[in-house]
């Protein structure tokens, strides 16, 4: 092993740990979130280093980008940063007092060190040869309808996981809409002019294009519904930031249909192949590629819409309701 990659890996890993340390300890919440976004981007780099480009794409778009945007928006809604920072600091001191003070923290640190050592020992004691499923995936890949193994796992071998996961996403939206009528709902209802609007107008078509590309290429190369969907979601976030809102006409049932389209189509295809004669979600080998693309297309749309809606945080028709 040459020295250069070693140094590279070391720098990556320790920077990541350092970033985590900084973002969790920083007294300034804004700075913490910015560090968190940087943390996410660094994670994406590590994913690439670990030969996981699909994960890297998802991490960059969702882990760093959308989560960061969500947190920043939340911070903005919490109130002026100075106030929250001071409140936070008070809180920190209070927690030391309430938790039994310094001895408590010492115990906690010791406990975590023990935990980390135990886990480290566990990892080191794993056999060096991985008994993973790479061979099994490789053997069945030809039958899966796609050539990107990650997509094959996500949408064919373990499609049931993915279906439930779409459910989690939809559920999160439901939750946010049920709880989201905060008194201090986002004030930015008037269209924002200037740079942001311009940026949005320029970037949105580009992002749509990227999303379409990722979706299309996902069967063969890194990409797929989640990556495409998150790019779409990013476009949506941008539009929301620029002050664009869905028309009243679409905010009702049509919007909801688009939100659930991915999950419904997924379930429908699964049931359809079941009626044809297999088990649930058993695609016929010949049409597997097409069915997966169909599901992915609908899923991309729904994921994008849901992510944007999660960012918006309230039901688009909530005012119409009252």
């Amino acid at each position: 092993m040459t020295l250069l990659p070693l140094i590279f890996d070391g720098v990556l890993g320790f920077t990541l740990l350092w970033l985590a340390w900084q973002l969790l300890g920083s007294p300034d919440l804004f700075r913490a979130i910015v560090l968190f976004i940087a943390f996410g981007l660094l994670m994406a780099l590590i994913w690439v280093r670990l030969d996981a480009p699909d994960v890297a794409l998802a991490e960059a778009a969702i882990g760093a980008g959308l989560t960061g945007a969500l947190l920043l928006a939340a911070l903005a809604r919490l109130g002026p940063p100075s106030e929250t920072a001071s409140l936070d600091n008070q809180g920190d001191r209070a927690s030391v007092a309430e938790g039994g003070g310094l001895p408590f923290r010492r115990w906690l640190v010791a406990l975590h060190l023990v935990l980390a050592c135990g886990l480290g020992y566990a990892v080191m004691s794993l056999p060096s040869a991985a008994p993973g499923l790479s061979d099994a995936v490789a053997n069945s890949l030809a039958l899966s309808g796609v050539s990107n193994p990650v997509t094959a796992v996500l949408l064919n071998f373990r499609a049931y996981d993915t279906l439930l996961e779409m459910g989690v996403l939809l559920l999160a939206l439901l939750a946010v809409w049920s709880l989201g009528s905060t008194p201090d709902a986002p004030p930015d209802d008037q269209p924002v002019g200037g740079v942001l609007a311009l940026l949005a107008r320029l970037l949105t078509p580009l992002l749509l294009l990227v999303a379409g590309y990722l979706l299309w290429v996902g069967g063969r190369a890194p990409g797929g519904a989640f990556q495409a969907g998150s790019v779409l979601g990013a476009a949506g976030v941008l539009l929301v930031l620029a002050g664009w809102r869905l028309g009243r006409r679409f905010a009702q049932l049509p919007l909801r249909i688009m939100l659930v389209a991915g999950l419904v189509l997924f379930m429908a295809v699964g049931l359809f192949v079941m009626l044809v004669g297999g088990d649930f979600l058993t695609y016929p080998h010949a049409s597997a590629g097409g069915l997966i693309l169909l599901i992915e297309a609908a899923a991309t749309l729904s994921i994008g819409m849901i992510l944007a809606a999660l960012f918006l945080g309230i039901r688009p028709d909530s005012r119409a309701d009252q």
Partner: protein
């Protein structure tokens, strides 16, 4: 020590750091950040150890993508709850004594 084991250990470091932060930091936003860091640690471990075989094992990759989506769903819910708690109590932390 090979590099993937190193990254797995980094993952463990992130997990423990996050766990510690969840427990000691009272501010809810910081707790949310900490949970996300913990999640990243688990994901890192999951993928790094998959590098032990020469050919890439895509199953952990798929699992991590799933995990990332679950994480943002949970974060979105946590954020909205945090905002509601702030709206109702005026504070961004949980009441100190869970009893009564």
């Amino acid at each position: 020590m090979t590099f993937f084991l190193f990254f797995a250990l980094v993952g463990i470091g992130l997990f423990t750091l996050g766990l510690y932060a969840v427990i000691v930091h009272p501010h809810l936003l910081r707790k949310i950040l900490a949970v996300n860091v913990m999640g990243s640690g688990v994901f890192l471990l999951l993928v790094a150890l998959a590098k032990r075989s020469d050919s890439v094992d895509p199953v952990p990759h798929a699992m991590v993508i799933t995990g990332i989506v679950v994480a943002i769903s949970a974060t979105a819910l946590a954020v909205i709850l945090m905002l509601r708690v702030k709206g109702e109590t005026g504070r961004v932390k949980l009441p100190e004594t869970p009893q009564e």
